[in-house]
Amino acid sequence: MLNPGKLGKKNLRWKRVFRTISFYLLLMVVMIPFFIPFYWLMITSLKNNLDMISIPPKLIFTPTLANYIKIITENDLLQFGMNSAIVAAGACVVGLLFGAPAAFGIAHYRIKSLSMSILLARIIPGMSLLLPWFIWFQRMRLLNTYQGLIMAHSIITLPLTVWILISFFEDIPDELIDAALIDGCSIVGAFVRVVLPISLPGVMVAFILGFVGSWNEFLLSSILGGYKTQTLPVVAYRQIEIFTLDWGGVAAAAMILTIPVLLLTFVVQKHIIRGLSFGAVKG
């Protein structure tokens, strides 16, 4: 005898399987294009000189690390990497030293009028800051110095730090701070001994996101830096302009530049959207 109920159930299950499969297919079709440029960069960096100029390009070839070895040994890439790291870490420290108290003030005393000024800061073209800085840095002999670049990069790290820490500080219950005050702490003491230690994850997130922002920065560094303080993005870009263009080397430099960032992305992924939209959305 036919059992319509059972048949219907089976049909429904097949329908669900079909829908699931088509969902994953759609997801793949949409997502894969976002990784093709990375893939292309990677395979180019792993090609030897012959495979590089093959037309049409080869997708299957014997990978080699020659480009990496060449670009690192011939271009002092480690020194430039150090430059990038020094500037980024310095800008993050400045961002935290000045940004953490500000974030605490804003969160604890619920100062509201700041969001508009943050938006204004985003609207201002970076170039209209860069031009005066360039003129002043020239006079103060700050061009091509770490101090100069750290100062310039702190306009990336400072707003970021403030916004990330505000959201962390707002999660701290007022009772905790009041308890510290009753125990005889000053408000500064409460901030240093109570608020900061329990917000250590937030401080880490702010540091990492600020570090990435500064590490990625190109325009400021290319104008305000010089050979001695050249950061990695500037080095990678300058490789394109060299007359004897070596795309394998450029690709290898680009990979070296961005791999640390991609690794850090995994560490702070939860906080990225909140940080980059300056608190406009809760990530």
């Binding site: 949409v30 440029p37 960069l41 997708l59 201002i124 800085w133 310039a152 939209s277």
Partner: protein, 315 residues
Amino acid sequence: MTKDVPIRSHSFSIIGIITSLNDKFERFVDKKAAILFPAPAIMILVGLFAVPIVYTLYLSFHFWNLSTTTAPIPIGFDNYLQVFQTERFWAAFRHTIYFSSLSIMIQIPLGLGIAMLLNRDFIGRGLVRTLFLFPMMATPVSTMIGWRLMLDPNSGLIGLLASWGLPRVALLSDPFWAMPTFVLADTWRWTPFVSLILLSGLSSLPEEPFEAAVIDGASAWQLFTYITLPLLRPTIFVAVLFRVIDSLKVFDTIFVLSGVGGGTRTYTETLNIYAYSESFEYFHTGYASALLVIFFFIVFGFSLGLAKVRRANDA
């Protein structure tokens, strides 16, 4: 919050004076903490933001080339008049509007679609969301070098597609295709940002309206147009606002893909690239300052206009 009054006998010894001074200081800090905490950051921001802007404004009323040794000569509004009379400025203005509007018209719907997709429960959702951050997090110089390699008509992806029979177009040096190509690269870089903003909006929507509509027999499409979209409007506004501001100021993407020069400069130069060129290629410092002030008001105007439209819609 109130501190203990310092013990009177202390005030005669040196330690006492210091303690009482320290106490006074702490009481002062307690009272003014709301201002004192943000004060250092505000000082920095004034020094690094406000002062340079005032100086740019000052320079915009002067004739001055940084490459010469003469002092700035005040010339009133001449720089501004000159900007408005320069065809290159208007061309850059048109290119910027073209770039921005095309970018936003593609990125917002695409970003919304992907957000809807990622909002569902599926295996590996966390990993996919994290990997999806890569285009916007990765160093722009690196990713745009990747794009440049890909767009090479011989050894790039274009070359590969051409060997399969598609037309071999040098997109980056083609007067017509260069701009859409920049938009494509920009879309690749910023759609994840749009998606993830919208995704956070989607995940905080209340469930009741959806449940009620499902009971009333609404279709998936009806749910989307009548419930999701209206509820999501504030978040969409945030995404549009950020994209408007940032796309009007586009720099890295175009700069790395085609440099300041290139054969397509007359077809693709945007305001920010033009300002860069006047500032740091020609060192027309006074003129560039006026250009930057005008540029600021263009970006500001669009943001304000957007906010107005939103308020009008909400009312």
